[in-house]
Symmetry: C2
Subunit: 477 residues, 2 copies
């Protein structure tokens, strides 16, 4: 090829070498400049286009770097052979993805996801963060310990020992970014051949998680005291996942004897473990908190899990677990590719927030606030004078409501939403639907609403459910 | 049981009801108060101990809540039956975990992990964070979108389109907390039956990760242009993981024709995918950046991955991927249990950092700084006048050094560390050791050191390797 001519755009912001590079590249890709073509020498092209040899060199260098052009010493620049790009028939129905089924708007939402929006200690958090972002702290830019910052782990261990009766050292703690990440670590650690027993009803995401990881799991029916030992045995589970402090969603507390039975089950055989998810144990409104099951365990059978999602905010994405020594050793050996997913700045902020006493103060404050909200809710329910019954312990950020008006769960939820209030049917938490309680039950979270709003919403619910004609399966009675 | 007597400690900070509760609990657990025992009535115990009935009620309530005691209406309070806790023989050798092999201390470390410590924009980051922690922003306390904050995803998409030639919308982006978490999502999405082909040599953590997830994987040998098509075919891989912008660790850039060949391979069959890890593509010191392979793909075959680990800091733990539409749809359907692991505050800070132009400015600044460091390193190597050769493109935060003095890799690394300089042998990046280059090669990262330190360290290396007697396999020559 003797010469190249292309229209330079001096108005265009792009440097000349880039324009030349883009032009030659597109000519090569379209086949207009065939393979093995010798490009014009820099000297010739320079005088032809009236631009400097350096500019041409820069364009050629880029083409060489990307593999469009090959330089041959003392011979010049040659266009490389490019295979044609074969296009696969675009898979049918890929589309742009459907938008989610739009949710009907509600004035009041008894959602379980979320915390009180008015009392987060923003100013303290801001001040500590400002202090933590410190150019003289070299640790802030390093990727850090796979289990999480050592000082943060010490703070968490102290808190767990004092407030939850967990027996642990900082070295046993693994910090992560949400319960689901901890479970994914555990599935890798305990092996996918283990059978996982999960509570029925239970945390709705667990089965999705085990499914997606293709781990074997069984739904194990609970009674008022939690997982039934006989059901655990029948299931053939190796590892069970339980919420003894406040069963999710039913709200029961596992009594000491069931705890001992379950520990004994785990102690019968090596490879058996109990995953204790202590998700909202910070909030108990009468009596003192129930100590963690982990504190009873002296054989390294309990994997304790906690999070700051309920006690501070789910948007912080900080969770942790306490590994028994044996699993800790395996974790360190096998999982060295993991890096603690929590940003170093946030780890340091949380550490100081705990160390300087703000976390305890916040918990005490929120316990009072949530207690009042719960009282507002149970008071309003009692005042309604309608046949409704509260189930579960005086704890956590939600309660279960039984409504005895003849409506099905679906009808209760639907008539509530038509009146502007969103409540949640318990059936979605049942993996084994056959076990579903015949009497409809609803889950009402009260963390995000104010006391007045709670009372107002219950009044609306009561009107929707107990006054006026009740529609049963489409018929007006 | 007629009465209980226990020593109250009025000096102890603990409330009386707690002391009473702890005492009765330990008596029950030790068997001193046997099952079915009737506890003293509140009235009697109150007058016996001289403390209020309310205090006793509180202690009994706690015992009831935990299942130690059962109240029977009009009968009183009875101790529940507790099974004995069986202890499993503690597994041999659990131990407390060995401390890691202590690493010899080095004065200078050519580590690849890390970024420049002097030029992180701390004050900007601090100011934006202060602004972002805002009590009027309700989004800060909600758990947010599973793919990450929408505004952040828009910023990332804009950046990728403009700077990396990636063709994507914000909707295709999934934000996560490190490349390893993205890979774990992909393994679940693409199925564990897929065979993953990884580069040999390559990123050392990938095989650990696939191993731990029990996904099938094959090491695929590379040549100067990256993965060889014939080797890909021979491996029977469905999904290949490559670093075309700057092969890790060898430093090569995949030329356009190899890119086309590999895309064509993926297009031949559905289920085939290319995972393009663009880990340090921001840093190219001559010519313009090589556009991403993803930009050539019009069939949804490339999963593009990036991170802010090299461009900002590994301690931020923010990575992202661009999913093709088909996989995006599956992700939304199957992986709803995932919550984006990056804290909301940090997502918003990064978003504003990009939107307000600070990210681009930081990249430009760091490109100059790292370029100078690289020049300092290559300059010092050239000046040493010893037979050493630099391999790989003028890009990234590391280079590969061949040292031709007859020493083995081990000897080079050891004699360097004896002189106080840590360098890294390339052999650890080879999964298929048979393919290991016969000539020893070393990886030298230069991001964390200053220019003067780099020159000094190279001088030390040169003395260690080229002056004085060379020990070969223990003999002094």
């Amino acid at each position: 090829m003797e010469m190249l001519t292309f229209a330079m755009d001096t108005e265009d912001g792009a440097p000349l070498y880039l324009q030349l590079y883009e032009y030659i590249k597109s000519e090569i890709r379209s086949g207009n400049i065939p393979c093995s073509t010798k490009l014009p020498s820099k000297r010739k092209l320079s005088s032809h286009l009236g631009i400097s040899q350096n500019t041409i060199q820069a364009a050629y260098d880029q083409l060489i770097a990307e593999g469009y052009v090959m330089p041959l010493e003392r011979k010049g620049f040659f266009v490389c052979k490019l295979d044609n790009i074969v296009k696969l028939e675009s898979a049918a129905g890929a589309g742009t993805g459907e938008s989610r089924k739009s949710l009907q708007k509600a004035d009041h939402d008894f959602s379980y996801n979320g915390v009180d929006m008015q009392n987060f200690p923003f100013s303290t958090w801001r001040r500590i963060t400002k202090d933590v972002i410190n150019e003289y702290d070299g640790e802030l830019l390093r990727s850090g310990d796979i289990q999480g910052n050592a000082a943060l782990r010490r703070s968490i261990a102290d808190y767990l020992r004092q407030s939850r009766g967990v027996s642990c050292s900082a070295d046993q703690i693994v910090v992560s970014a949400g319960t689901e990440y901890l479970f994914q670590i555990l599935i890798q650690l305990l092996g996918r051949d283990s059978v996982y027993g999960i509570e029925n009803p239970g945390y709705e995401k667990l089965n999705l998680l085990f499914n997606s990881s293709r781990a074997k799991f069984k739904a194990i029916n609970i009674d008022n005291d939690g997982m039934v030992l006989e059901n655990i045995r029948k299931s053939g589970s190796d590892v069970i996942c339980i919420t003894p402090a406040h069963q999710f969603p039913s709200g029961g507390i596992m009594p000491i004897n069931r705890r001992i039975q379950i520990l004994n089950w785990a102690n019968e055989r090596s490879g058996r473990y109990i995953i204790e998810d202590d998700y909202d144990s910070e909030f108990k409104y009468s009596g003192k908190p129930i100590p963690a099951l982990q504190g009873l365990d002296s054989s390294g059978k309990v994997i304790y899990m906690g999070a700051f999602s309920k006690s501070l905010s789910p948007s912080l994405r900080i969770s942790y677990m306490v590994l028994p020594e044996k699993l800790l050793k395996e974790f360190k050996e096998k999982m060295s590719f993991i890096i603690c997913p929590v940003p170093m700045i946030e780890q340091k902020v949380l550490c100081r927030f705990i160390q300087e006493g703000y976390f305890e103060r916040h918990l005490n404050k929120m316990r009072t606030i949530y207690k009042k909200k719960r009282e507002a809710l149970s008071g309003a329910i009692a005042q309604a004078g309608s046949p409704m019954e509260i189930v579960g312990a005086d704890a956590g950020l939600h309660l279960i409501l039984r409504v005895n008006n003849g409506m099905s769960e679906r009808q209760l939820v639907d008539s509530a939403i038509r009146s502007g209030v969103r409540v949640y049917g318990l059936s979605k938490y049942y993996l084994d639907k056959e076990y579903l309680n015949k009497k409809p039950e609803l889950l009402l979270g009260y963390a995000t609403m104010g006391e007045e709003e709670i009372a107002e919403a219950v009044e609306i619910l009561s009107r929707a459910w107990f006054s006026g004609p009740i529609e049963l399966e489409g018929q007006v009675i």
